[in-house]
């Protein structure tokens, strides 16, 4: 007599592969490399940069900016992240020629040499990277391989260093504090650890060889939760009210 109540998992190998890829990122396992999550922790103390090239930090010298995107509506980068924000913009000279709507991150050539750090007012330290393969979501550039995120772990705000960026696997982390790990090929999704939200992603625009930060989606650690970043929006509130007007079933 058999009582087989199993065998209800996914049936296609392709679906399995996609899950495997997600899991690969989650646990740091690179197909065929055996370089697993635990190895990533073991190497924490003697870590060599996983990106192929040394990390670079974007200059904030606005005079290097060439051209730029069109002026954009006020529902963009700085208003969103700075809604009611406290003072962040201190100590830097204002360039009368810069636009209020974007920040230059660097050039594609610079990114090809390795991840680049940059600062976003209201968001803090961020990084941009050029992945070896197109991002599954959120990538920019001709091949959708350029991504950018906040470096602050959304768990408790620990900064994660550029040496935690792996442009081959899309792994970012683990955070030195509590080992949260993120997938920068998939919108900064947390795939292991303790953060209650995913990494804040910086939306980019590529113009020629220049990469600009134009918008933050999601919430960087420390910023104020708003209806644009909350998972519960006024629309849901209205839907709840509508439902409550009926009977529960």
């Amino acid at each position: 007599m058999h009582a087989t109540l199993g065998a209800q998992g996914p049936s296609s190998r392709r679906f399995s592969r996609d899950l495997a890829n997600q899991r690969e990122i989650a646990l740091g396992v690179s197909l065929g490399s055996g370089n697993d999550f635990m190895t990533s922790i073991r190497r924490k103390s003697d870590r060599t940069p996983r990106s192929k090239h040394p990390a670079k930090t974007a200059t904030t010298d606005q005079t290097q900016r060439e051209g730029g995107p069109q002026a954009i509506s006020r529902r963009r980068l700085f208003e969103r992240v700075t809604a009611g924000a406290a003072a962040l913009a201190t100590g830097c000279a204002m360039d009368d020629n810069e636009s209020a709507d974007h920040v230059r991150v660097g050039s594609l050539d610079e990114l090809a040499a390795g991840p680049v750090e940059f600062d976003l007012p209201g968001t803090g330290r961020c990084f941009a990277a050029k992945l070896e393969e197109p991002a599954a979501a959120g990538g920019q550039g001709a091949d959708a391989s350029v991504v950018a995120f906040s470096t602050l772990c959304p768990h408790m705000g620990c900064p994660i260093g550029l040496d935690a960026v792996d442009v081959q696997t899309g792994r970012f982390g683990p955070c030195n504090c509590h080992q949260s790990l993120f997938d920068i090929r998939r919108n900064g999704r947390m795939v292991h650890g303790r953060a209650s939200s995913n990494l804040a992603q910086v939306e980019l625009r590529v113009e020629g060889d220049n990469v600009y930060a134009i918008r933050v989606s999601g919430l960087a650690f420390g910023a104020a939760l708003s209806n644009e970043t909350a998972l519960t929006t006024p629309l849901m509130v209205q839907e709840s009210q509508d439902r409550n007007a009926g009977t529960h079933e």
């Binding site: 009582a3 809604a83 924000a85 913009a89 009368d96 007012p121 420390g222 998972l231 509130v237």
Partner: protein
Amino acid sequence: MSKNDRLNMDRRRFARLALTGAATVPLARVATARAESDGDNPRLFIPPVGAEELTSACAFCIVGCGYRIYRWPVEDEPGGPKAADNALGVDFPTTAMPWISPNQHNVVEVGGRLHHVVVVPDWKATVVNPFGDHSLGGTLARRLYSAGDELKHDRLLRPQLRLGDELRPIEWDEAIEIAARVGRHVVDTDGPRALGLKTYTYQFYENTYAITKLAFEAIKTPCWAPHDQPRSGPSTPGLSVAGIDAFSAGYSDWRDADTVCLSGVAVYEARGVLFDNWVKLLPDADAGPRLVDDEDKPVKTLVVINPRRDVAAQWAEDHGGIHLQLLPGTDTVLNNAIARVILEQGWHDQAFIEEHVVDEDELEVEKETNALREAYGMDFAQWSEMVLSDDRYALDQAEQITGVAATDIERAAALLAQPRRDESGETRRPRASFMLEKGNYWSHNFPNSASLASLGLLCGAGNRPGQMISRGGGHQRGMMRAAPYPTDASPHTLEGRPAGLNLDQWVIEGNLRLAWAIGCTWAGGGTASAGPLFVRMRQLTRETGPQLDKSIAYPAGPDGGLDVEAVIDALIARADAGGMVMIQQDIYPQDLTLLADLVLPATSWGEGTFTRMQGERRLRYYSQITDAPGEARDDWAIVAAIAQRMGYAGFDWSSSAEIFEEAAAVSGGTQAYGALVEHARAQGRSAHEVLAERGTDGYQCPLRLEDGAVIETPRFHDAVLAAQTGGERGAFGTSTGKAVFARGDWDDVVERQELLQPRDGELWVINRRDSRTWSAMVEDRRIRHRMEQMPDNLLEVSPQDAAALGLADGDSIKVRCDAVTDPTLAPVRGMSGEFSAILEITDRMMPGVTCAYFNFGGSVAHAANNVVSNTTDPINGMYSFKLGRGRIEPA
């Protein structure tokens, strides 16, 4: 633009420019620059000044991190980003807690009105989760029921009655009447053993008190089992024999140990804040000079015993400790082998043993008072003789049996017991603490826990700061027994000793007429050989007549009203015919819902006011945050209503607070909180109210009153306290107040190990927790952030095994065990079990050993327990959940 122009512009444009990161502007100007842009204002969800503030503790693991909750009506203006304008007193953006992440906010109903609610880790905490560290509880707000959340569309909101394949909503009064009348009938007809309950032990004192009052005091049925055991009984009997309470340690003891031995504990994965904030930290300076390494740096080391290389194992290896990656089930040999090295080297704490462990005469006294101790208790001379004379505990044979290298066994012994130099230059024995969890005692339950307890005593652990023996804990401690379990009513024995009734066996044999499951995945993670049990349950419920249908329940048509009497008659007829009626009392549907005749909607965390205890015995108040969803009721209220309808007295509570005060009289041991109730009554207040004022600190039990003040207990077994009170407090849990060596011997294991050993192409299939999920994943499947992280069940396999099987990473596989059931249980004899998963190749598993998540989705189809034998161990009658086996095949 001139500087003057800049200063004169309107504040909106000013804000944009200021925040490019390149402005030299006065802080005050920027601070006032809210993005009020013509109606496109991103409305903030910061708690306003005056928002209601509550406290609670996490719904999930044993650590029970503290949380602060803020709620305010959706119509109210939200708080502002300045500290003076919000309830948190924080300037946004903030680099410290409390940062409110998107998943820490929700919209819920309070008093019938929609409210914003945020649930943030208590950043002011100095106990348990200092500075607001947290794990899964970071998404507690999303756990709350919100009618607008599509992921919670299947929340149980009304009582339902099964009519064929359909579950039909009915009224509460009808449901209570049906449950009570059927229950009354089966007890009157076939006795108390015809009615059984399978219930949680974690979901708050008030609920479990009501459940056990009905089961043990009123009905007096022995047919009760907790969610994770087949019968009532101790989880760690080895500790019980030793006289050690499983939760005697305080969290500071893990921190202040020089070396912590983790036996079968996934400490990062399943109780992560305990690991990060206590276990892995260096001892506090107040604990005395710390041991140092060769470079004179203070050290903290871990000895991790686990077949799987988990996060703590890796941390141990990285920080001067060691991972003992043993073969499943061989813990007893390993523990005794380590002990043998310690004995042979003379590193054991002889002074401790002489003072705090029974001698020969005292042992005889203990044997007379406790049947298990009579069989397995030893004094030091007997126990050390056993360890030193048995060659299986010598290094060469131990290496062969356990798979752990002899040099590693020696290293572990040295880390635990070899005297070393400390910061003061003195040489002293390490302070070693010992933590065990299910990898230890859900393997070979008694011998593993006994051998670890004895190893700890040998090292001088048990009743001193930084030198304790305790469980890490799994879920929080919400079990409050209203009366003792009626062991006398149980027909089952173990080694001739009275024992709890094996409820799963009782069901399989067809002895139960009414099965009442409260808040657990009984035929999933809650049993072994889950598939066969589910099949048998289905035979007794859905495949045994009569079955209800609309013609019986609504003889006058759908508008004619439910014919309650006809329903009761039909269900009673099934019970009388040898079938079973099932009641499922829960918050969401699960596999049991497919079988249940009655489905009763219950409340959960945040939907009522409750209390329970966490891992270092802190008793906390869990605030009600939202209205009960739909018509859901507290479990205690449902049980009380049914009990009263069955004719039992003493269930007329009007609030959970009343139950808490009544239960104080029976709260004992580590859970004693009667002093709190006395203290509250002296003030003319309720105990709930007084406890709520303690917020996330709670009270560390047991409690006593001294000069009108409530006194807490940092450490349950405490040598100093015992000396001060003449053994009245702080002593070990024995009649002499001294500990007892417990005989954990391979002789008591070898036969069962042989029974459970993989064969015929099978591999070991152990199972684990995961930091991304909680238990049966009831919440995880309904919180998007959590769903994303673990979309499928995973089976970890070594590269060598995968290659031999011809399987690749990511393959869809099934794990199958033929004849997984107890051959003496005729109805399920010969049944096989299987579960599905995705293969993950990883070198954190050794060849021959695979590992699955233990209870994926709470579903029978994915339960790792499908390949665990439902035979039980001969000493304590528990399943060996961690010792599954099976063949791995492509799906």
